[in-house]
């Protein structure tokens, strides 16, 4: 596309500059995290004597095991239940084409645009009414509900793409709707389901607003929600704060690098449909 040589070089330089700008804040965190814990570091200076022990300290004083456990507990409920509900609803909307489906679909599309912030006040009192405020359930239940518009629209898009001949063939062979769903549709839906699972995992893990508002004890929150607790805990030590934040970032980066391909594809499809 770019024809002459000067343009190629300028293009490369611009790209490299942007890449460096993208990485600097993360590298800067690492460099600060490796400074001696009781000092006040300045800017981006690489430590002469890296203090890897800071990560251990931050891990212990930050109760990271307990936080990760709490996050996993939330993820373990949110992701499978959302997947199950979304698959059933998506199948109903996309394949069975039941009556009123169009209306439900429009409603879900509308739901996609609602910011969580707009619903947080009523959610708080709803959770209080259910008596689950300040427990992990106060995050699990609303998240399942809030993820529904996206998840159902996602699964519907998949089921609409399945050729109707497949269902017809199964019907001719005498399969019931349930059999057809389990034997034919579910195996075909596996890629769509796994992409959705990755997305929901990451969104839950990174969820901040709901845990901060609905769970008062930071140790029962998601790890991202607990970052405010780190800010209070380590306000006197920039190295430890950065070490703690990095510990929380690392799992998301690991998941991303492992599933990168499915992941980017998933996000892109999600974006286009959304």
């Amino acid at each position: 596309m770019i024809v002459n040589k000067a343009e190629v070089i300028i293009g490369r330089v611009v790209l490299v500059v942007v890449l460096v700008l993208t990485l600097i804040p993360l590298v800067n965190m690492l460099s600060a995290a490796l400074q001696p814990a009781d000092t006040n570091p300045t800017g981006l200076t690489f430590p002469t004597d890296p203090q890897w022990i800071n990560f251990v300290t931050a891990f212990e004083t930050g109760n990271v095991w307990r936080l990760m456990g709490s996050s996993l507990f939330i993820v373990i409920f949110v992701v499978p239940i959302s997947l199950l509900l979304a698959t059933l609803a998506g199948y109903a909307l996309g394949n069975l084409r039941m009556r009123g489906g169009r209306f439900v679909f429009l409603f879900l599309i509308l739901g996609l645009t609602i910011p969580f912030e707009a619903l947080i006040i009523p959610l708080y009192y709803q959770m209080q009414g259910l008596g689950v405020l300040n427990t992990q359930w106060a995050v699990i239940l609303p998240l399942i509900g809030l993820y529904m518009p996206f998840s159902v629209v996602w699964m519907r898009a998949h089921f609409i793409g399945v050729p109707p001949e497949l269902s017809e063939a199964a019907r001719v062979d005498g399969a019931t709707t349930l059999q057809e769903f389990r034997r034919i549709q579910l195996p075909l839906a596996r890629p769509a389901l796994s992409a959705l699972a990755i997305l929901l995992f990451l969104w839950t893990w990174n969820q901040f607003l709901l845990p901060v508002v609905l769970i008062s004890d930071p140790l029962d929150r998601t790890v991202a929600g607990a970052l405010t607790f780190f800010q209070g805990q380590y306000s006197s030590s920039i190295p430890l704060l950065n070490a703690g934040a990095l510990i929380i970032i690392v799992p998301t980066i690991v998941v991303f690098v492992i599933f990168q391909r499915q992941f980017i594809r998933a996000l892109l499809q999600g974006a286009v449909k959304g």
């Binding site: 993208t22 619903l119 947080i120 709803q126 893990w205 920039i238």
Partner: protein, 267 residues
């Protein structure tokens, strides 16, 4: 999902502190949303953030996608995609912490300014009334540029290559190629990204909460933080709910015309 929406609408017509009896106040809460300087200020701030969350990432994404596309596919181009995408997957709250440290008095940005002789510009960026909002906005640009780039890249892949060959035979410059083929070809992607990023700008909470909490003063107050403060710190549930409904209406008011424009230009 539906219940909180209706409960929110219901709360918004009452004055209620969350525990005591509630009182029907009609539209008073809504009137206050549109007359209270603080609340209007937070809406204005949200619109300023759109410049940083939407315009910069979409423009930068277009340019970067064109650049990456022009290179031979190889390890460098896929590595740049991975790196650009990183800010998108880490928790926003953590991004806030990383950047508060960049912007701090002793942070990397002031260090750089001092090093190149612009030390007089150095300041605590997030604590300064003039710079706090743009500083927070730039974090949003940092987070969203990767998403825009990667989505535009796939979009460019779908554009018919013969179009590019045709303009090149006509001796078109890089810029002409960009304006006449790339941008029209990416209409759909641009509409989607503008929608997503506007929603992100109007509902920013995580970033502001971990960087400035709305301060200094009200310099970076946005609707998400206002709702949180009014509803839970000041216990004015009705007003906070009304503000939530207004926020939702604002998002729809911004997003629906864009969707309509995108559909119209497809026909």
């Amino acid at each position: 999902m539906i219940y909180p929406l209706f409960a929110g609408i219901q709360y918004s017509f009452y004055r209620w502190n969350g525990v005591g009896p509630s009182e029907w106040v009609g539209l008073a809460n809504y009137i206050r949303v549109f007359t209270d300087e603080t609340l209007l200020g937070s809406i204005r701030n949200a619109f300023v953030l759109i410049a940083f969350f939407t315009i910069i990432p979409v423009a930068a994404g277009l340019v970067l996608a064109t650049l990456i596309r022009s290179m031979r596919p190889g390890p460098f181009s896929s590595l740049s995609q991975t790196i650009l995408f990183l800010p998108q997957i880490i928790p926003l709250a953590a991004a806030g912490i990383a950047w508060s440290w960049m912007y701090a008095q002793t942070g990397a940005i002031n260090q750089l300014l001092n090093a190149i002789g612009l030390g007089f510009l150095a300041r605590p960026w997030l604590g300064d009334f003039q710079t706090a909002l743009p500083a927070v906005g730039l974090i949003g640009s940092w987070v969203l540029t990767g998403l825009c780039t990667v989505l535009f890249l796939t979009g460019i892949g779908k554009i018919d290559q013969s179009l590019y060959e045709a303009v090149r035979l006509d001796g078109a410059s890089w810029w002409r190629e960009f304006v006449t083929i790339t941008i029209p070809g990416l209409r759909q992607e641009i509409a989607v990204l503008v929608t997503i990023t506007i929603i992100a700008a109007l509902s920013s909470f995580d970033l502001i909460y971990t960087t400035t909490l709305g301060g200094p003063g009200r310099a970076t107050l946005v609707p998400g933080i206002s709702i949180f403060r009014i509803g839970f710190t000041q216990s004015n549930v009705g007003l906070a709910s009304a503000f939530g409904i207004v926020l939702m209406a604002l998002v729809l008011a911004c997003v629906l015309p864009i969707q309509r424009l995108a559909r119209a230009s497809d026909k």
